[in-house]
């Protein structure tokens, strides 16, 4: 399939057109979007891409299980983050104490530190958060330097705002991140499993279909048999109900006895006549309609090319009034001249092709026709003697004659 042909020549070609399309840009965009949804935008783009070691760690973590790890570290709570926060807060002696208090009180900060303190990626994440945090605090410092006489409560309030803003997302974002990696990993497994499932299902289906196609004739024969059995049973019922009917009316009785339909019913119930496709066949395999008293072959089918409307002949026409001559237009159907308006085409139709255009129209200008050499063009046979033809031609072609 060449790419230059724009129209799909087959369904397969159309499919390959779809599959071979370069979707990398869309994929990239979609992947980026997915990332944005799961964590901070710059997380992976800053070079902290998920590497093999990280995955191994994560597997390890998953394998051990959170529940298993939790008790081990529950007793040794890590104050890493809090210490880091303390270090940071030292730049801001005014509100450091308050932040420490707050961090210590903060419920939301605790579990994350307890949960996986060793994990490298967790620290990476924290570092990034801190980097982010530090930047903001640096800005804040600048502000504070600029506003030396700013009241304490203002900056503390500001700082408090910062902390509350960050503390909750820190936890939440991390949780989300963990969840996302979980699903990501599981999805791969799931897809593999699904693929296997599909494959096995298709294999099974194929096997079943093969079996069915092999068994089909047998089933059909069975169905036919069942059908014929039911058919015979129904015929028997019909026959019985009609034959048992006792009527005082002798004519009706005779009719019932001579009924061809009832004879057919009895031969069906005796299995002398059976269903075969869309035919009823007798024991010799012959269609029962072929041996009706007047065979169907003798029916004269009407010739549809004949005119359906006969020419009406007056009933009381006297012999001398009947036109003995054949109707010259008998082959014309009513209405077949409806679209004929000029005399020439009418003559052509009526004459049955005997009249030609050349007979009516002078073909004097055939010399204009340059497609055939003039020598080979047959000379039109004239009905006149040569000299009379010449005179006539002169008369016809003489423009000065008036």
């Amino acid at each position: 399939m060449d790419a230059s042909s724009c129209g799909p020549s087959s369904a397969l070609a159309n499919l390959s057109k779809h599959t071979q399309r370069d979707n990398t840009l869309q994929n990239e965009y979609a992947a980026k979007n997915a990332q944005l949804r799961t964590g901070p935008a710059g997380f992976r783009q800053n070079g902290n891409a998920v590497d093999a070691r990280l995955n191994a760690e994560f597997h390890n973590f998953q394998g051990n299980g959170l529940g298993a790890e939790f008790p081990a570290f529950a007793g040794t709570p890590s104050f890493q983050q809090q210490a880091q926060h303390l270090n940071q807060q030292q730049f801001q002696p005014n509100n450091a104490g308050w932040v420490q208090d707050f961090s210590g009180l903060s419920i939301s900060n605790q579990p994350q530190q307890v949960g996986h303190p060793q994990s490298d990626w967790h620290q990476q994440f924290l570092q990034q958060q801190q980097h982010h945090h530090q930047q903001q605090q640096f800005e804040q410092q600048n502000i504070q330097q600029g506003q030396q006489f700013a009241p304490n409560y203002a900056s503390s309030a500001f700082s408090m705002n910062m902390r509350t803003n960050l503390s909750t997302p820190l936890y939440a974002q991390q949780q989300v991140q963990t969840g996302a990696s979980l699903t990501e990993h599981q999805e791969i497994h799931k897809m593999e499993q699904e693929k296997q499932l599909f494959d096995s299902h298709f294999d099974q289906l194929e096997k079943e279909l093969n079996q069915q196609s092999q068994e089909k004739p047998e089933v059909e024969v069975q169905v036919d048999k069942v059908e014929n059995e039911q058919f015979a049973e129904t015929a028997r019922q019909i026959e019985n109900s009609l034959r048992q009917f006792d009527t005082a009316d002798a004519a009706t009785k005779a009719k019932i006895e001579n009924s061809d339909f009832l004879k057919l019913m009895s031969s069906i119930s005796n299995k002398q006549v059976v269903l075969d496709g869309d035919k009823l066949v007798d024991s010799t395999g012959q269609d029962i309609r072929e041996n009706v008293n007047e065979p169907l072959q003798q029916i004269s089918r009407p010739d549809y090319h004949d005119p359906i409307h006969d020419i009406p002949v007056p009933q009381e026409a006297r012999p001398e009034q009947i036109n003995k001559l054949p109707d010259p237009l008998s082959h014309m159907q009513d209405g077949s001249l409806g679209d004929v308006y000029d005399a020439l085409s009418a003559a052509k139709v009526v004459s049955g092709g005997q009249v030609k255009t050349g007979d009516w129209v002078d073909e004097d200008d055939e010399w204009l026709d340059m497609t055939t050499p003039s020598i080979s063009r047959p000379k039109k046979a004239s009905i006149m003697a040569d000299h009379w033809q010449e005179v006539y031609d002169d008369y016809r072609n003489d423009d000065d004659f008036h």
């Binding site: 009719k255 009924s259 061809d260 057919l264 035919k279 309609r289 549809y304």
Partner: protein, 376 residues
């Protein structure tokens, strides 16, 4: 009596052309409609008293009914056993000019709207009726009803059982249920939107195709036995006739059918309703199920019926819908036409000439045109 033999094909329906006084269409099926193809005949009644075939079309499945177009003199619709409805044009040989396939089972009746004239209705064994326009490829409207399990032809113990198997051959061994089959649906000649239908669970149903809930009247007409045919009186807009496997023809005044007992779509008919309302008149005489009933277009008191007892009967309905106590008691069967040698299935009154001319067809492959006034 003018005969014509539809050789090799058993007659199911016959109708006079509404445009030509000498034209008949006959719907037929091979092998009594059990298996095989069908054929639609167009017949001309010649001035010398013979019936000749003008044209005919062979179809893949048996044809069970036909209806002449009321807007086009050359067009006929035919109902086929394979669930399709075909429109034939007399000037187009061999093939139908339209083919509609929406019904899932045999289409058993087609009827042209006599007032609106631009649509027709089909009734099928799949339990639905569809309104069609000859110009459109799809149906305009589908009417269907909730099944009634309380009648004799569809008692609960045999029809309301859950299916035991999804396999085809096991389903087939179960009793064939005809309760849901709609056998006949006919447009009123007095209203462009009113339809009467009869079904295998003995119900006569009146529909208004404009209404959001089209079912207007619904009652058990033939004592729980299958109702096979119905027709509107051409002179009295509220009078209908119905016929069924209880061998009777019943005349109903729709004003006297109470609507109080009309069931909800989800609830079955109450048990006491098996008997149903009382007919205005009941015409008894057929020895087997009555297959078709039709009112005369010339006389509000005359009707004909065809039956599986191989006869056609002409009836006089003397009942007076205004005063029942004034009934003359001199109505009833006015004649029996016994020429057919097999079940008589289809019949039609001629609209033309001397009133009382009738065409009938049946499984003896014969079409007879005869005068209902000259029966012995």
């Amino acid at each position: 009596m003018l005969p014509f033999r539809t050789r090799g094909y058993n007659g199911y329906g016959v109708q006079y052309s509404p445009y030509f006084d000498n034209k008949l269409a006959v719907a037929t099926a091979a092998n009594y409609g059990l298996v095989g193809n069908g054929r639609l005949f167009i017949l001309n009644i010649e001035p010398n008293g013979t019936i000749v075939e003008q044209t005919s079309w062979e179809t893949q499945d048996g044809l069970f009914d036909l209806a002449w177009s009321e807007v086009h003199e050359n067009q006929v619709t035919a109902a086929s056993g394979d669930g399709s409805i075909k429109l034939f044009d007399l000037t187009v040989g061999q093939f139908p000019v339209m083919n509609w396939k929406e019904h899932t089972r045999e289409v058993f009746s087609v009827n042209w709207n006599l007032v609106d004239k631009t649509n027709f209705i089909s009734a099928s064994w799949d339990g639905s009726m569809k309104v069609w326009s000859p110009q459109r490829p799809d149906s305009l409207l589908t009417l269907s009803h909730a099944q009634d399990f309380t009648t004799k032809s569809s008692p609960v113990e045999s029809t309301a059982r859950p299916p035991l198997s999804h396999q085809q051959q096991h389903q087939q061994s179960q009793h064939v249920n005809t309760a849901n089959c709609i056998y006949n649906a006919t447009f009123s000649p007095h209203s462009p939107s009113t339809v009467v239908s009869v079904n295998g669970s003995s119900h006569v149903q009146i529909w208004d195709i404009r209404a959001p809930r089209p079912l207007q009247i619904d009652y058990v007409a033939h004592g729980g036995l299958e109702a096979l045919s119905c027709d509107w009186n051409k002179y009295k807009p509220t009078i209908i006739a119905s016929a069924g496997t209880d061998k009777s023809v019943r005349i109903w005044d729709l004003r006297m059918i109470t609507k109080i007992d009309q069931p909800h779509a989800h609830a079955p008919m109450p048990a006491y309703h098996i008997r149903g309302p009382t007919p205005l008149n009941e015409l008894l005489g057929h020895q087997f199920a009555v297959r078709k009933v039709q009112w005369s277009p010339h006389d509000g008191q005359e009707l004909i019926s065809t039956s599986y007892d191989m006869s056609v009967r002409v009836w006089r309905d003397e009942s007076n819908e205004r005063a029942r106590f004034l009934n003359m008691k001199n109505g009833g069967c006015k004649g029996v036409m016994g020429q057919h040698k097999e079940f008589v299935i289809g019949c039609d009154y001629s609209l033309w000439g001397e009133p009382g001319w009738v065409a009938s067809t049946g499984w003896d492959e014969m079409v007879y045109v005869w005068d209902s006034k000259r029966l012995q």
